[in-house]
Amino acid sequence: MTVDVHSPESTADHGHHTSLGISNTKLAMWCFIGSECLFFGALISAYLIYINERADGPGAELFDIEFTSASTFILLMSSLSMVLALAGIQAGDMRRFRIWIVATGLMGSVFLAGQIYEFTVFLSEGANVTVSPFWSAFFLLTGFHGVHVAFGILMLIAAWASSLTGRLRMENAETIENLGLYWHFVDVVWILLFTLVYLIPALGGGGS
C-alpha cells in the first residue's frame, strides 16, 4: 500500500487537506484582494484630495457620462457571464464554460477599448498627466484599473486556451472560481470609480 503525502502545491487542489478547510490558492486570492483594497484606496484618496485642483486646465466637463455608463454596464454584465462560466465548469459542461468565458473576455475587452477611446478623447482635448493634479490622479487611478482589467483578460484567455487543450477540466473548477473572485473584485472597484470619479465631479457642481 502506498500513501502519497502531497507536496504543498499539489494539496492546494484539495481543500480538505488544509487547516482551515479553504484551499491555499483561494485563501491567497482573498489575501491579495485585501491588499488590493488598500492599493485602490490610496489611489482613490489621492483623486478625492485633488478633485478641485485643476490648475486652470480642463475638468470633469470632459467626461461623457452616457458613454461611460454604457461601458460600465458592459463591464458589470461580464460579471454575470463570469458566474455562468463558473457554473458551466462546475457542472462539467465545458462547452458552456467556453462560451461564457469567451463572452466575459469579450465584454472586458469592449470595456477596455472604451477606456482607451475615452483616454484618447481626453488627450486630444488637452487633458494629460502634466496638466493638473486632478488629471494626474485621474489617469493613474483609472489607468491602474484598466491594467487590472487587462490582466484579467489575459487570464481569461489563458483559461479558455487551457480548456481547449484539456489541461483545464471540471476538477480545476476552483481555478476559475479564484479567477472569478479577481474579476468580480475588479468590477466592484469600477462601481466605486464610476461613482466617485465620474458621477460626483460631473453632477456635483464641480464641473465648472
Partner: protein
C-alpha cells in the same frame, strides 16, 4: 488518491528548458524552491547588504567625527545617508527577518514547505533584483539622495536653496551610447522600493496562507510558537502597508519621470499627501522590522530560562494589539507639519497607547526569566540585550508622543538615538540572537561560544557608545541629516565618541561574520537539539532533510518537544507551570501523561523519534516535494529590466520595457504551465 503523475496534463512538458532537477551544486541554488535553502539565500544576501549599509554608516560617522568634516562632499553625504537608511530597512533587517521566516516557519508548524514554494523563490529573487537595481544607480548618475522617507517635493527634481544640486533632469549624460537624464536618483528610489515591495507582498500572502492552512495536526493557533504568531502579524502588516507605499512611489515616479503634478505645490499638488502616505506605510513598517525580533526572543528566553514562556496569551494578544494600533499612530512622525491641535493630540494619545502592549511584552519576558535557571549562552545574552536596549528606545519613544516635547526633538539627533535603540538595540540584537540560536539547526554545527560572547560584549559597548551620545547631541540641538557642523556648538566631543563607538560595532560585526564562517566547518557537532529546546523544529535532524520530516509530528502542547522530553508523570523532571503560563491544555490530553505509542514512560524512548498514535509503520510514505524551477528567477529579473525603461531615454527605454515585460510574462506563463512537481523527479522515501 490522486497523484500528480496521474494527471495526464502534468506529464506533458511545455517548457522550453529542461526542468532543473539537481538538488545539489552551485547551479541548484538558482532554481531551488526549498524554503530552507531560500532562507539561507536570504540570510547571506541580507548580511552582504548589512555590511554595505554598515560601511555607509562608518562613512557617515567619519564625516561627522570632527567639525567641518571633509571626508565626503555634501552631495556624497546625502547619497550615503539615504542609502544607509534604505539598505538597513529594506535590504538588511526586513530580509533578515524573511530569512528566519523562511527557514523556520514550516519547521515550527510541522509543515513540509510553505504553501507556494515557487512564489517563495520568486520573493527572494525579486528582493535581490531590487537591491541590485537600486545600487546600480551608482553607475547611472548617483544614488538616491532624498532620505529614506523621500519627502516630496524636496525629492523631486530641482536645486536646493543653498545652491547644491540635488538633481537636475535637464542635464543628461551618455552611458553606453544611451542618454540617461541626471537627477534620476529618486527614480531609482521609487522603482527600487516598488520592486522590493512586490517581494514583500508575495511573501506576505505566502506566509499568511502557510500559517493559516498548513499547520500540523493538533497545532491550533494558540499552540503556535510566538515567533509564528509574529510572522502572521508581520505578514498582515506587509500585506496592507506595501500597497500604500506602492501608490505613493508610483505618484513620485509619475512626477519625476512623466511630469505629473501629485506633489508639486506650484501646480496645486499637496506635499503633505506624500507624508501621510509614506508614514501610513512607514509606521507599520517599524513593526514589520521589530516584531520578528520580538518573536525570536520569545522563543529563546524560555529555552535558556528552562521555564515556559510567561503569559503566552498576553504576548500573543499584545502582538495583535500592536498590529492594529500600529495603523493609528502614523502622524506622530508629522507633529511639526502643522496638522492642528486635534490631530496632534489624537495621534499623541494613540502613540502613548501603543506603548502599553509593548510594555506587556517586556514584563512577560522578565517574568519568563524570573526565578528561572538561566544559562547565559550567546543567544540568551543577545536576547537580554534586546530587552534592555529596546526598553531604553521605548522610553525615548514615549517622550516623542508628548507633542510639545516632540517639537523640540523633531529632526534632531535625539530621534536618531531613539530609532537606533529600537532598530539596532531591538531588531538587530534580536536577529543576531536568532542567528546564534538557529545556526546549529541550519548547519548541524554550533557557533563558537567564546567568539559569540566576545561579539556580544563588543557590540553592546560599541552600540551604547555610538547612540547614547545622540540623545545628548539631539537635546543640544544638533539637527539630523546635516553633512557637517561648525565648531563651537559643543557637539564635538560626543560626535567623536559616537564615531569611536561605530568602529567598535564594526569590530563586533566582524567577529560575528568570522564566527559564522569558521563555525560552518569547525563548529562542534550540534545534533538535533543542542539547546534542550521546547519547540518542534528541534525534533528533526540538523540540518533537516529536504522534506523536513519523514512523518509530520502530532502536536499536543505549546512546548511540544519539551513535553515529549519531560513528561510530567515520567521520572526525569517535573515542569513547574506558573499560573497564566503556557502548558495549560484545557479539554485536552494532559501533556505527556499518556506516552504516545508504547504506553510506558517517555524516558525509555528517544523523544526525537516521532511516534504518534494511529501511525501505521507498515505504510510506505512517498513524499512529493516541489521540483526546482527556473521561472521564479526569470520573472523576477524581468522587473528591474523593465524598470530601466523609465531610467533610460527612448528608444533604449522601449527596449528595456519590452524585454522586461517579455521576461515577466514569459516567466509567469512558464511557471503556470509547469507542474509544481516534475513527474520524473525522484521521490523521497521514508
Amino acid at each position: 488518491m490522486t497523484t500528480l503523475a496521474e494527471r495526464p496534463s502534468a506529464s506533458r512538458s511545455r517548457s522550453p528548458f529542461r526542468r532543473p532537477l539537481a538538488e545539489t551544486g552551485l547551479g541548484s541554488w538558482f532554481t531551488t524552491v526549498d524554503h530552507k535553502r531560500i532562507g539561507i539565500l536570504y540570510f547571506v544576501s541580507a548580511m552582504v547588504f548589512f555590511v554595505i549599509g554598515g560601511v555607509e554608516a562608518l562613512l557617515i560617522r567619519l564625516q561627522l567625527a570632527t567639525p567641518d568634516g571633509q571626508v565626503l562632499t555634501i552631495d556624497q553625504y546625502n547619497q550615503i545617508f539615504t542609502m544607509h537608511g534604505l539598505t538597513m530597512v529594506f535590504f538588511a533587517v526586513m530580509p533578515l527577518g524573511s530569512a528566519f521566516f523562511n527557514y523556520l516557519l514550516p519547521l515550527m508548524i510541522g509543515a513540509r514547505d510553505v504553501a507556494f514554494p515557487r512564489l517563495n523563490a520568486f520573493s527572494y529573487w525579486v528582493f535581490l533584483a531590487a537591491g541590485l537595481f537600486i545600487y546600480s544607480s551608482v553607475l547611472l548618475g548617483g544614488m538616491p539622495d532624498g532620505g529614506w522617507f523621500g519627502y516630496a517635493p524636496l525629492s523631486l527634481v530641482g536645486g536646493d536653496p543653498l545652491g547644491y544640486t540635488i538633481g537636475d533632469a535637464t542635464t543628461t549624460q551618455t552611458i553606453a551610447g544611451n542618454t540617461v537624464a541626471e537627477g534620476q536618483r529618486m527614480v531609482f528610489y521609487s522603482l527600487g522600493l516598488q520592486i522590493a515591495g512586490i517581494a514583500s507582498l508575495a511573501s506576505a500572502v505566502n506566509f499568511i496562507v502557510t500559517i493559516l492552512n498548513m499547520r500540523a495536526p493538533g497545532m491550533t493557533l494558540m499552540r503556535m510558537p510566538v515567533f509564528v504568531w509574529m510572522i502572521l502579524i508581520v505578514s498582515f502588516l506587509m500585506l496592507f502597508a506595501m500597497p500604500v507605499i506602492g501608490v505613493a512611489l508610483w505618484e513620485l515616479m509619475m512626477d519625476t519621470s512623466f511630469g505629473a503634478n501629485f506633489f508639486d505645490p506650484a501646480q496645486g499638488g499637496d506635499p503633505v499627501l506624500w507624508q501621510h502616505m509614506f508614514w501610513l506605510f512607514g509606521h507599520p513598517e517599524v513593526y514589520i522590522l521589530i516584531l520578528p525580533a520580538f518573536g525570536i526572543v520569545s522563543e529563546i528566553l524560555p529555552v535558556f530560562s528552562r521555564k515556559p514562556l510567561f503569559g503566552y496569551t498576553a504576548i500573543v494578544f499584545s502582538g495583535i494589539a500592536i498590529g492594529f494600533i500600529g495603523w493609528g499612530v502614523w502622524a506622530h512622525h508629522m507633529f511639526a507639519v502643522g496638522l492642528g491641535p486635534v490631530a496632534n493630540s489624537a495621534f499623541g494619545l494613540s502613540t502613548m497607547f501603543i506603548a502599553v502592549p509593548t510594555g506587556i511584552k517586556i514584563f512577560n519576558w522578565i517574568g519568563t526569566m524570573w526565578d528561572g535557571r538561566l544559562r547565559l549562552t550567546t543567544p540568551m545574552l543577545f536576547s537580554i540585550g534586546l530587552v534592555a536596549m529596546f526598553t531604553i528606545g521605548g522610553l525615548s519613544g514615549v517622550t516623542h508622543a508628548v507633542v510639545p516635547h516632540n517639537w523640540q526633538q523633531t529632526d534632531t539627533y535625539y530621534v536618531v538615538a531613539h530609532f537606533h535603540y529600537v532598530l539596532f538595540g531591538g531588531a538587530i540584537f534580536g536577529l543576531m540572537a536568532g542567528a546564534y540560536y538557529w545556526y546549529p539547526k541550519a548547519t548541524g554545527r554550533l557557533m563558537n561560544e567564546r567568539l559569540g560572547k566576545a561579539h556580544f560584549w563588543i557590540q553592546l559597548v560599541g552600540f551604547n557608545l555610538t547612540f547614547a551620545p545622540h540623545h545628548i547631541l539631539g537635546l543640544n540641538g544638533m539637527p539630523r541629516r546635516v553633512a557637517t557642523y561648525e565648531d563651537g556648538y559643543g557637539w564635538n566631543f560626543w560626535n567623536l565618541v559616537s564615531t569611536v563607538g561605530a568602529f567598535v560595532i564594526a569590530l563586533g560585526v566582524l567577529v560575528f561574520i568570522i564566527n559564522l564562517v569558521i563555525s560552518y566547518k569547525r563548529g562542534a557537532e550540534a545534533g538535533p537539539d543542542p539547546w534542550d529546546a521546547r519547540t518542534v523544529e528541534w525534533l528533526t535532524t540538523s540540518p533537516p532533510p529536504p522534506h523536513n520530516w519523514d512523518q509530520v509530528p502530532n502536536i499536543r502542547a505549546r512546548d511540544e518537544l519539551w513535553q515529549r522530553k519531560y513528561p510530567t508523570q515520567g521520572q526525569r523532571e517535573q515542569v513547574r507551570v506558573p499560573a497564566g503560563g503556557s502548558g495549560e491544555l484545557e479539554g485536552d490530553v494532559a501533556p505527556g501523561t499518556t506516552a504516545p505509542t508504547e504506553g510506558t514512560t517517555g524516558a525509555t524512548q528517544s523523544p526525537y523519534t516521532i511516534s504518534d498514535p494511529g501511525y501505521d509503520k507498515g505504510v510506505r510514505h512517498d513524499v512529493h516535494m516541489p521540483s526546482p524551477s527556473y521561472y521564479p528567477l526569470i520573472a523576477a529579473f524581468g522587473l528591474p529590466i523593465a524598470a530601466y525603461g523609465v531610467i533610460f531615454d527612448q528608444p533604449a527605454g522601449f527596449v528595456f520595457y519590452a524585454v522586461g515585460a517579455l521576461l515577466v510574462l514569459g516567466g509567469l506563463f512558464g511557471w503556470v504551465l509547469e507542474p509544481p512537481t516534475d513527474p520524473s523527479a525522484e521521490v523521497a522515501h521514508q
